[in-house]
């Protein structure tokens, strides 16, 4: 564990040095995130000018859900997306995955943390600010117990999102270049911004169990606003462990299938 934290720290320092040399990239990426937030808020305003509740959630609750989902996505993007994108588009195709395989650390983790993007964490700070604004402006009362369970579920939600991202790119071992599945992850992440009640029951079940992307943000935020449900608390820990085992298992099968591109 300490080993991975040390590696992570070195990679973060390198990422900071790299990103700080091109401030324009940081600026345009953070601007993109802020713009996305602004556009979505305009969209929510349009929706709520016609209704008072969306699947039982008011404007500020939905705004909080959206901002929290963006925090999860930004942290994952900042930490893992660069490495996973590289894996999905280049590492297998060019045979550069060898570099990661020969290291005395887990290859899945090393690939994931290999290319952090600092600007995503800057965007996450703004999104956390939106969360606080939603609570303040919406006069949302939050109990200490709710908040503690929220932190617990958020932790698992963050890890679950990572494992779901792994599952979307691990087919690259077989298809060589498969970045579109990661793009699929980005598209599916859009369902995280709405309460689960928006979706028909069959789709909701799929998005909570088969590919539990909705559970990542919805369950923690529900627990923050409403009395905690023990089934949610147990469920999210359970599916995170299940999907973690599944992601790792498929990754190991992929490793056995991998044959370097050779030089």
């Amino acid at each position: 564990m300490i080993k991975y934290l040390k590696i992570n720290w070195i990679l973060f320092k390198n990422a900071y040095i790299r990103d700080s040399k091109i401030p324009g990239v940081i600026l345009s990426n953070v601007t993109f995130h802020l713009l996305d937030i602004a556009v979505t808020i305009v969209f929510f305003k349009i929706i709520f000018s016609n209704i008072s509740e969306l699947a039982g959630w008011n404007f500020y609750q939905v705004l909080f859900l959206y901002a929290f989902a963006k925090v999860i996505i930004s942290i994952n993007n900042g930490w893992f997306r660069g490495g996973l994108k590289d894996f999905a588009t280049e590492l297998i195709r060019r045979g550069d995955y060898d570099f990661y395989l020969i290291k005395p650390v887990d290859s899945m983790i090393l690939v994931s943390i290999s290319q952090p993007r600092i600007y995503n964490f800057i965007a996450a700070l703004f999104e956390i600010g939106i969360c606080f604004y939603a609570v303040w402006a919406g006069h949302i009362q939050i109990g200490l117990i709710n908040f503690l369970w929220f932190l617990y579920l958020s932790f698992f939600g963050l890890i679950l999102y990572y494992f779901l991202s792994i599952l979307t790119i691990v087919p690259t071992f077989w298809f060589i270049r498969l970045w579109s599945l990661q793009d699929l992850m980005g598209r599916l992440s859009q369902v995280m911004r709405y309460p689960s009640g928006v979706f028909p029951p069959f789709i909701r079940t799929i998005l909570m169990t088969v590919f539990p992307i909705v559970a990542v943000a919805y369950l923690p935020v529900y627990t923050l606003f409403y009395p905690p449900k023990m089934e949610y608390i147990i469920y999210i820990a359970l599916i995170t462990i299940v999907f973690g085992i599944l992601a790792n298992f498929i990754w190991q099968i992929g490793n056995k299938r991998y044959s370097s591109a050779s030089s």
């Binding site: 345009s28 713009l35 209704i51 969306l54 970045w179 699929l184």
Partner: protein, 256 residues
Amino acid sequence: MVSFKNTLAYKADFIIYIMANMIFFFIYFALWKNIYTSSGVTEISNYSLSQTITYYFIVALIFRFDPVDSMYLGNTIWNGNFTNDLIKPWNAIFVDIVYTFNELLLSVLLYIPFCLFIFVAAHQYINISSPVNLIYFLITLLLSVFLAMSFYYIIHAFCFHFGDQNANLSLISYIVAFLAGGFFPLAFLPGALKTVFILLPFRFLFDVPTNIYLGKIAPSEIFLSWGQMILWTILFFSIFYMVYRTGIKKYTGTGR
């Protein structure tokens, strides 16, 4: 032919990319159906539920015609491969335009099965346009492709002067999609904001073609729109050509 082969080199990647783009439609389908049915309203800004769903169906189709991901002028300038086109006995910009249209054509052809799937899944809520409106829609769509390309070429040409523009292109294309009505009908916007959006040329990329399909625009206004689109295209292309000519003088072809 080259762009066809390039795009289909990794078929699974491309097919899944198009499938991923279907999700956009189904998310908004579920969202607006929930909004209309739970609130009991029959119309929002003169859009019924079926018109709203049809709007997103057509917008999802128009996104396949969005040239921003199919234009490579900026990349070739940045990596120096543009030299290869410059020394050839043909116009480098013309080659890039042809390449872009090839990619768009392939993108549309491969999207057709998924378009049919969406139509079958949501046919109760999707309106079929009249033949006349369909023809008007297709002509407007073609003009919108030229308009979009002439605008994005300006950004690509900035590569000569300011370097890699990929990050700016992503940002600008997102803004353009928002201003063009790619996320919701512009009619849903409140008064003052709607006025600003209507003054800009980007509404001709998504909102206007879709409303033509829905039969919400009279023929006289359609012809007026075509005139405006042609004028904006000429203006953007003129700007692009000025930036391009000044950029060619600075171009060294060393690449990165």
